[in-house]
């Protein structure tokens, strides 16, 4: 007996993998046409590399958000504030570490030991550790004091984390006694110098480092979530908390860990952002947070690799849009968000129904 079906494309065309491959191929063809007509090749490569670095920074923020928002369904606006805190703490400790003891103004302060006069590279690594620790600590505090009572209540999470944004931003202003809107690095955190691909095209060493960090974070978190026992417990806990709890795992503690990890990743994103732009500003957190939300939604909630693909897409397209249409450069990401939510609300790789 023949069952009546809705008319539509044949089954093989509805396979999401095939669709993805087809759209990537179509995108590549479009890019080739674009290079041939609109822009010179070295310019294109420069934009592309800038876009890659931007994607890496964006991915670091979005990866934390993908864990917190995509996986655990917690709408965390304080993520951006943690990002800003990470960047500021990084700059502060980097500046302290690279001040030589002889040049120190106040030798009696309790932080005098930090003024070791280190070279840029070890100072960066130490400051990175401090920034990450502060990020994780802030995340842990937010989880313990607030989010823990509000799992499953998105409206209250939004309100509460917005209140936290006000508190964190204002305390940042007090802690770093900000009068000027920006806060800069004393010296460049990386040895200057470029890596030349061809005589025309040079890449900054710090760009390469940031892209590598992005890749490492992607691989390690992917492994943690999908190939390790811990990841199994977390994914199971999201699906059915009570069942996993009944099997003897303390799901609460695992969620706490995920939240702290996500916040540390936000701080890492902030640090990467300050390194690329040689300074930090108060508003950078909120700006990057909105973009990261878009990235997570484009990639699909709950899909970690989706967040990576979304970050690549947004990061690579934005410089070109900014180059051609300056008026909508700021709002491009927002337009993208609206389009994605209207056409495919579950995102590219999302299995969840919005």
């Amino acid at each position: 007996m023949k069952v009546a079906t809705r008319p539509g494309p044949p089954a093989f065309l509805r396979d999401p993998r095939l669709l993805t491959i087809l759209s990537v191929v179509a995108g590549l063809i479009l890019v080739l046409i674009y290079i041939n007509t609109a822009i010179k090749f070295p310019t294109f490569v420069r934009f592309f590399i800038n876009g890659l670095v931007e994607s890496a920074v964006l991915f670091l923020v979005a990866s934390g958000l993908s864990l917190i928002f995509g996986l655990m369904d917690v709408v965390n606006f304080a993520h951006g504030a943690v990002f800003t805190w990470g960047g500021f703490v990084f700059i502060w400790s980097f500046n302290l570490f690279s001040t030589s003891p002889a040049a120190a103004k106040d030798k009696t302060s309790p932080l005098a030991w930090m003024q070791m006069g280190l070279d840029p590279l070890p100072a960066t690594l130490l400051a990175l550790l401090i920034g990450l620790a502060v990020g994780a600590l802030l995340g842990a505090l937010i989880e313990i004091l607030a989010i823990r009572r509000l799992y499953g209540r998105p409206v209250f999470q939004i309100l509460l984390t917005l209140g936290l944004v006000l508190v964190l931003d204002e305390s940042l202003r007090i802690a770093f006694s900000l009068n000027a809107p920006s806060y800069d690095l004393l010296s460049s955190p990386w040895p200057s110098g470029n890596f030349r691909i061809t005589p025309d095209i040079a890449v900054n060493w710090k760009s390469i480092a940031i892209v590598i960090v992005g890749l490492v974070v992607f691989l390690s978190v992917f492994w943690l979530l999908n190939r390790s026992k811990v990841g199994l417990v977390i994914r199971g806990g999201v699906e059915d908390t009570q069942m996993v709890q009944a099997l003897g795992y303390n799901v609460k503690r695992y969620f706490f860990g995920v939240f702290a990890l996500g916040s540390a990743l936000a701080a890492l994103g902030g640090i990467a952002f300050t390194i690329t732009s040689n300074g930090a500003s108060e508003g950078m957190g909120q700006l990057n947070l909105l973009t990261a939300f878009v990235v997570v939604v484009i990639g699909g909630l709950g899909s970690f690799s989706g967040a990576a693909v979304g970050a690549l897409l947004v990061g690579l397209i934005t410089p070109f849009v900014g180059y051609h249409f300056q008026a909508i450069a700021d709002s491009f990401v927002m337009i993208l968000l609206v389009l994605v939510l209207l056409v495919r609300p579950q995102g590219l790789f999302g299995g969840k129904k919005y």
Binding site: G152, L159, G163, V167, V238, Q242, L290, I335, L337
Partner: protein
């Protein structure tokens, strides 16, 4: 006992930690907003508000300092704004995060029509009302297909886009510098603005009260309570939500216009996220789903804002230990108020009162 509860979703999720009896009480408390006697809003709370507005009506005739006139008009503007938000959030259950879009469009339409086109104020105001209504319908049409957090994010995206455009289109809006309405010939003086704000707030209160107690309003509340069921009964939920959004947009736009007159200047700040956050906080603090809750929240938040960010207050707390530095920074304080309200007063002042009222009456009965 398992406390973490991630999988529970839907309208019930908001009060899952309450006992069944408490939940029943809360439902009953929320639904008493619909009372046949309150068709025109002349419930006890409505009477209080009517008397208060009469007092406010005669106040300027008894002589009122100009600073106080401006102060009260700002409170009244935000009362109307919070009421418009309550229609969406409290009664229809739509969580918008970009309400500043309508507020800002209202403000900008008056300023742009009068300064760039040379229109009289009333023409700009009419255009603004029409524009806000259409914008509400458009926004609803585009973004109400997605729900919950995602609707909030789409509206946030729209408001952010409008905010960045208003800063970018320097030739039209003069960018961050803003448009000064004081230059306009027919700019109203502060007493006129006061009466405009008063009329707006009173009409918004009693008009919304009438709306909510009409068949339309009951459908909106049924959508809040259980959207699926309302759809199954046969109501076109999307259309009703769009109507609610359009009404709310018009009132918010009017509030934005009076705000523009009151400040005498319109800059991209009227479209910022901070403006979207204020009515949300007011409605949550007062108690969502009750009109007088929104009024209460707006009055409390605005008076806190005025007293706590005033120079006298900041100077008086400067010397205090520990709390001094916190009290000095209004934004820090506002953030803490937010967090404390969400954690300890999630149903607002009115909701909490209704939840615990029986204890009080029990106590009095025991005493007697």
């Amino acid at each position: 006992m398992i406390n973490v509860n991630v999988t529970e979703k839907g309208p019930e999720a908001a009060n899952f930690e309450l006992s069944p009896a408490a939940r029943q009480r809360l439902d009953k408390a929320r639904l008493t907003a619909l009372r046949p006697g309150g068709r025109l809003g002349f419930t006890p709370a409505g009477m209080v508000i009517a008397i208060a507005s009469l007092v406010l009506l005669v106040l300027p005739m008894l002589g009122l300092a100009q600073t106080n006139t401006r102060l009260i008009s700002q409170v009244l503007i935000f009362v109307a704004f919070a009421l418009s938000y309550d229609l969406l959030f409290g009664f229809t259950g739509i969580f918008s995060f970009g309400h500043s879009l309508f507020f800002g469009v209202g403000a900008y339409s008056v300023a742009l029509c009068s300064l760039n086109l040379g229109w009289p104020m009333w023409a700009g105001a009419i255009l603004g009302v029409v524009l806000c209504g259409l914008l509400g319908i458009f926004t609803g049409f585009v973004s109400l297909r997605v729900q919950g957090v995602f609707f909030a994010m789409v509206t946030l995206a729209m408001a952010t886009t409008a905010h960045s455009l208003s800063g970018r289109l320097v030739e039209i809006t003069k960018g961050d510098e803003g448009l000064s309405l004081i230059q306009a010939a027919d700019a109203p003086d502060s007493t006129t603005v006061y009466y405009m704000a008063l009329i707006l707030a009173v009409v918004a209160y009693f008009g919304l009260s009438r709306l909510i107690n009409s068949p339309l309003g009951r459908v909106l509340v049924s959508i809040r309570e259980n959207e699926r069921r309302a759809e199954m009964i046969g109501y076109n939920v999307l259309r009703y939500k769009i109507v609610a959004l359009a009404f709310s947009a018009v009132i918010a736009g009017l509030a934005g216009m009076v705000f523009a007159f009151r400040n005498g200047i319109v800059n991209p700040g009227v479209l910022s996220t901070d403006i979207s956050l204020l009515p949300l906080l007011m409605v949550i603090l007062g108690g969502s789903g009750t009109l007088y809750g929104a009024v209460l929240g707006a009055v409390v938040i605005q008076s806190l804002n005025f007293t706590l960010s005033s120079r006298e207050f900041v100077e008086s707390v400067r010397g205090w230990a520990v709390v001094g530095p916190i009290l000095e920074h209004w934004l820090l304080l506002l953030g803490l108020i937010y967090v404390l309200i969400v954690l300890f007063l999630p149903y607002g002042i009115v909701g909490t009162w209704r939840l615990h009222r029986h204890r009080l009456s029990g106590f009095f009965k025991k005493a007697a």
